[in-house]
Symmetry: none
DNA sequence: TATGAATGAGACTTCATTCAT
DNA sequence: AATGAATGAAGTCTCATTCAT
């Protein structure tokens, strides 16, 4: 049984690698099994289809982010401090699972229906989180949009594409937050 | 000849429609020709492949944005005014070609090599534009990242996904710019 | 267009040949297209699946028999004469399309649902036809069952399997009818 | 060892059930083992292949019929009585093993070579049996064909498909025999 | 130019069978 | 004997592209 878990995991890891390199549509199931070192048929013991394994992978990121947002939602500390720690945690987490995050951020939006919706939902949750957090400020909607756009840009482009150090990016994000909040009552 | 131009245009329009609805990979050449009302073989008189027509379409947005950025690069007016007009023009232009923009913003990042690079280049140009524009400010890099992330978020999610009115979005963007620049020297 | 009809017909003929030789389940689409001398993909221009072309073929026999039964149903001649001509016509028709008949009689009963039902329906129609025809006789139900069983046996085994001459078989059938009807009121 | 016999029997019973429900070709070995409640690999301890277990099952019917025919072949009673008892026994036997009979009558004819031959041989044996039995009658060949066709029709359609009571069917068969023999010298 | 039938490479998926435990 | 994960051959079907008309 631990054998079978291990095969499933080999497939997931292989799929993460291949999907993040070639994208969902350019990936063949044969690429995944080759990478995993198992036979073609083995794939279908664990996953009904290429779509399903992809779904499972995106759910990993979804789960990580969801959980983090929920945890910080109840936080009662100083707002800036909350944003700092929250962002730090999210950035670090996504960075630790870079390839999976890559798939989530780059492969979902070009898909249809529920898959694309997955991305949109996470996006909305981020926005909602900041709106609530900043609810006592004027223009909290605008602030939330700015922060989310800023953060997303930093992770997607600076980290995932340009390969910037996550520490530097987090520092920049914090500085940005300071700038945004500085002029605010 | 005007006849043939018209067929090519029919194909481009049809492709824009179908690509924006189903995405590049889920679109069949047969979908495009059906939508265009021409025969399957006709497609290949005008385009070498499905990739090529897709490329041509993305170049439309690329061109529009490129041109606008170049034009504003030499602008010598008051910085805030430049940002205002520039953003207004970019937002309105993209909004006018919503479907093409949709393809550009949602279909490119999941692709490989040059196609993905197209998106990245435009992104970099935006960042570079704002860096230069704000070069006399402290933290101009951070400001540029914030503005670009904010703007991109607004267009992709609020306009293209949520269907918000472009006028409202532009207003929000301007307010955001004010907030960002308020506390800055 | 006559070209395309011809390709469809080539496929039908090839499928009839191969199905009757190897049976439905042992037939691959690749066998059919090889026999028809067309490319694999061509098959799917004309038929959605192996099931569909099979269905079309069985409908040919179904149609032939249906039509003949309906035509004789209204016949007002002497009963024995009606049976004679009806049987003659059915036997000759099925014999002329031996391979298709073979498929109908040997491939349908091992299938599921509607396909098997096709065979059963035809069987029922034969029985019903003879019941009505013999309605003025005592035991017409039994007579109908005997005649249908007898006829079916003759065609399936003596003609299709043993390869007996259709003329001889028809003669035997008529003699059988005489025997059955001889002792009857 | 009694343990292992039991596993083999479980497999046979399961296979009979599944084959009669879905047909040979639509049955997967995994269906059989699931029904039998044993592991996939266990199947191959007892049977070399899916074909083999199928063969074993058809041999059951074959054996039953063979044995009955042989037993009645030496019978010296009154012909009508022989036919009556013989038919009664065959009908009851097949009815008792309905599912196996179902497989025999509906699954063999669509197969190739020896399997199909099995059905044909039994058919021929029936015909031969009646020919011999009726050898002193004129037209004994025709009578034999009629009786066999009639009986086969009754069992396959009326019993196996329409679900008629075996007792009623046997009565009808006997009446039919009376009709057939009535007019005969 | 325009057509649309034909092509065939290549992807997905199934499932009978094997084999290490 | 029993297990069930793993195998991989084989089959179905899709679809971008070609080509004769």
């Amino acid at each position: 049984m631990s054998q079978s878990v291990s095969t499933r995991d080999k497939l997931i890891s292989a799929a993460v690698k291949v999907f993040s390199e070639k994208g969902f549509f350019n990936t063949k199931v044969s690429d995944i099994v080759k990478e995993a070192g198992v036979a073609q048929g083995t794939f279908y013991i664990y996953f009904r289809s290429k779509e399903e394994i992809f779904l499972r992978i995106t759910e990993l990121v979804e789960g990580l982010i969801d959980e983090t947002i929920e945890r910080y939602r109840r936080s009662k500390e100083n707002i800036r401090e909350v944003i700092y720690s929250f962002a730090e945690e999210v950035f670090y987490t996504l960075d630790r699972f870079k390839e999976v995050s890559y798939i989530f951020f780059f492969q979902l939006l070009c898909m249809q229906d529920e898959l694309k919706e997955k991305y949109i939902n996470i996006h909305r949750k981020f926005v909602q989180f900041y709106r609530e957090l900043l609810s006592e400020y004027e223009n909290n909607h605008i602030l939330a949009d700015m922060i989310v756009g800023f953060g997303e840009k930093l992770f997607k482009f600076d980290v995932l594409i340009e390969g910037r150090e996550i520490k530097d990016v987090i520092d920049e994000f914090k500085s940005g937050i300071d700038i945004i909040l500085r002029g605010i009552r």
